[in-house]
Subunit: 338 residues, 2 copies
DNA sequence: ACAGTGTTTGTTATCGATAACATAAACGGG
DNA sequence: CCCGTTTATGTTATCGATAACAAACACTGT
C-alpha cells in the first residue's frame, strides 16, 4: 500500500528543476519574465510531480483571491442562472472565479451569506436587489471592494448598479393593455414581501392602474415567493372563480403565467379569447407554449455581462466613479394576449 | 474624505480587547475554551472595529478550506440545480461551502475546471458523471481528497458514487410501453456524445428495443446537447413528417418532451390519442402541462443530499470504504402516454 | 570598449491566522 | 489544605507562495 505522501509544493518543484522557488512562481504566472525554455522545463517537472498550484498561499501573500462573490435569490431560476452565466463568462478571461451563494429570497439569510462570502476576501461582490439589512449594508460598505447591485435600481445604491425598474416594466405592460381597451386587469404574485422584485412589480401594477383611473384591487396572492407553475395555476383558478369578468392577468413571472395558462386550458377557458395572460422574464417556456406568452425580457444575461464588464473596467482603472447602468426591458407581445 | 485604511486584523482586535491574538482566534471558533465573558467582549470589539474574519490566512495555516468543489454540466438546469441545493443544504450545517463550476457538457472543459478548483484546495470534490479525460482522472486521483461521481454508475469509479443507471431507467420506460402493446417507439435526443447521460439514455433505449426484438432505428437527433424545448419541438416536427406511424416517443428530457408536445398541439396531433410522449427528469413543467408528462424522476435533490451525507460521514470517520449509493429512479406514468 | 538598457534569475521577509506547546488560574475531593 | 484535574489564556513557529529588492547577464549603439 502506498503511503499518503504530502503533496508537493513549489519548493519541491524548484529543487527538482534546479531553480529557485521564485522562478517556479513566475513560471506559473502570465506575462512574467521567465525564459520560455525555463518555463517549459519547470511546467514539465510540475506535471511529473503531480504538483497543483496552491491558491490558498498565493491568496494570502498577494492579498488577491481572484474571487468575485455573487449572491442570487435562488440557484433554481433560469433568469438568475443567465445572469450568473453572463458574469462568469465575462470574468473568466481575466482569471476571475465566481463564488456563488443563494439567499432564498430572504435578506436576513443574505446578511449571513454576505458575511460568509466576505471572509473569503473576494475582490468584488455582486448582489441581487437593492434591499438589505442594516448590518449587510455596513458590511458591504466597509469591505473596501466594488459592490454592484443588480436587477433593481435602488434609490440609495451602495456603489454600482446594473439593473432596471421592475415597477416601470410592469407599468409598460399595463399601458399596453389599456391602449388596447383592456381595463379589468388582475395581478398574480407572491403573498409576502420577501421577493422585493416581485413586490416592486406589484407596486408598479397598482400605480399604473391608478394612473389610468382603473381598479387596482384584483390582486391574487399565490403563496410564498418564488411562486411556482402550480401556484400560478391555483391562483388562476381562484381568479376565475371570484372575478370571472377579468379581461387580462399579469403574472409575476413566466412560470406562474404558464401555470395560469394551463388552468385555463383545463377549464376550457380560451386564451386570449376570453382572458389575456402575461408573464415576466422571457423564460424559454413562453416562447414555446401554445399559445406563446406575452412577457417582458429584462435581458438577464446582459445584466451579468455588463456587471462583469464593469468589474473588469474597475480593475483596469478605466472606470472610477460609481456606475449606474440601466437596462431597458423589452415588452414582447405574443399569442397569450389580444 | 476618508483615507481608505487597511482593514483590521485579528491582532488589532486582540490589542483593543486586551487579549492575545490566539484568544481572539479561539473566540471566533466553536467549541473552544474561551470564557463566555471574554468571547462576548472580543466579538463586540470585532464588530465595532468592523473586523471580518480572514479565511485566506486561516486556510493556509490550518490546511483546511471548508470548500467542497462541485462541477455540473450547466448552471441553467433545474435537475442539477436541485442536486446542488441538496448538497448545499447538507453541507451548510458542517460549515462547508460549495465552490461551484460548470463544464458546458464538455469533458475537456471539465478538466480545466477541475484543475482550477483543486488549486483552491477543496476538502472534497463532487463531479457530475463518470467520464473524464485521462488527465482529469489523474488530477482527481492524486488530489488526496474524497471524490464523488454522481448522476451515473461508472464501471471504474474514481472513488465514491451516488447515482443511477440512465440506461436502465430508459429501459424501464420502454418495457412499460411494450407491456401496453406500443411497439413503434422513437427517441429524441442530442446529436453529439458530449452529454454522456443523454448518450446513455439513448443506448438504453436501443438496447431495450432490441431486447424486445423491436426496431430501434427511430432516433431523432435534435442538436447539440443540452437540447431545448424549441429543439424538442423541431425534432417532433421531423418525426411526424418522416415516421408518421410512430406510436410513442421518449425524449431525453422533460424540456424537449414539452417542446415535442407543443408541436403536436400546433399540428392538431392528439396526445396521447395518436402519439404518446415521455420525458426524463420530472421537471415541474411535466406535472403542470396539459396533458401532464410521463417521465422518470431520478431524485436529483436526493443525489445531492446523499453526497453531502457521505462527505459528512467521511469527515467524521463514520465511513471509510468507497461508497456506491444507488438511487432508484421512479417511473411516473401521466397524461401524455396511454 | 563601455555606459546604458532590458532580460532573466535569486534572496529575504512577509501576508494573517492557528497548531502545538506551555502555563497560570480555578476547582474539587479526601 | 494540598495535589490532581480541568479550564482559560499566552508564546512561538509555521502554512506556501510572492512582493520588493538586488544582482548577474546579454545586447545595443557610439
Amino acid at each position: 500500500m502506498t503511503t499518503p505522501r504530502k503533496p508537493p509544493t513549489m519548493a519541491d518543484v524548484a529543487r527538482v528543476a534546479g531553480v529557485s522557488p521564485m522562478t517556479v512562481s513566475r513560471a506559473f504566472k502570465q506575462d512574467t519574465s521567465v525564459s520560455e525554455a525555463t518555463r517549459g522545463a519547470i511546467l514539465k517537472v510540475a506535471e511529473d510531480l503531480g504538483y497543483v498550484f496552491d491558491s490558498t498561499a498565493s491568496n494570502l501573500r498577494s492579498q488577491r483571491t481572484n474571487f468575485v462573490a455573487v449572491t442570487i435569490p435562488s440557484i433554481n431560476n433560469a433568469n438568475f442562472a443567465d445572469t450568473v452565466g453572463g458574469l462568469s463568462d465575462g470574468l473568466k478571461e481575466r482569471g476571475l472565479q465566481i463564488l456563488l451563494g443563494y439567499t432564498n429570497y430572504d435578506i436576513v439569510e443574505e446578511e449571513r451569506l454576505i458575511e460568509q462570502l466576505l471572509r473569503r476576501r473576494p475582490e468584488a461582490i455582486v448582489v441581487t436587489g437593492g434591499r438589505h439589512t442594516e448590518r449587510a449594508r455596513r458590511l458591504l460598505e466597509n469591505a473596501g471592494i466594488p459592490v454592484i447591485e443588480t436587477w433593481d435600481l435602488p434609490e440609495a445604491p451602495l456603489g454600482h448598479v446594473v439593473g432596471f425598474s421592475n415597477a416601470d416594466a410592469v407599468r409598460g405592460m399595463v399601458d399596453h393593455f389599456v391602449a388596447r381597451g383592456v381595463t379589468r386587469i388582475a395581478f398574480i404574485g407572491g403573498d409576502a414581501d420577501r421577493d422585493t422584485r416581485g413586490t416592486d412589480r406589484r407596486s408598479g401594477f397598482i400605480a399604473a392602474m391608478r394612473a389610468h383611473g382603473l381598479d387596482a384591487s384584483r390582486l391574487i396572492a399565490a403563496g410564498a415567493p418564488p411562486i411556482s407553475m402550480r401556484e400560478g395555476a391555483d391562483a388562476m383558478g381562484r381568479l376565475l372563480d371570484s372575478l370571472p369578468d377579468t379581461q387580462a392577468v399579469i403574472c409575476v413571472s413566466d412560470l406562474s403565467a404558464f401555470g395560469a395558462l394551463t388552468e385555463c386550458q383545463r377549464r376550457g377557458v380560451d386564451v386570449p379569447g376570453r382572458i389575456s395572460i402575461a408573464g415576466f422574464g422571457d423564460y424559454e417556456i413562453g416562447a414555446v407554449s401554445v399559445p406563446t406568452l406575452t412577457t417582458i425580457n429584462p435581458f438577464p444575461r446582459d445584466i451579468g455581462a455588463r456587471a462583469a464588464g464593469l468589474i473588469v473596467d474597475l480593475f483596469s482603472g478605466a472606470q472610477t466613479d460609481p456606475a449606474r447602468i440601466e437596462i431597458e426591458p423589452e415588452l414582447l407581445v405574443r399569442g397569450s394576449s389580444v
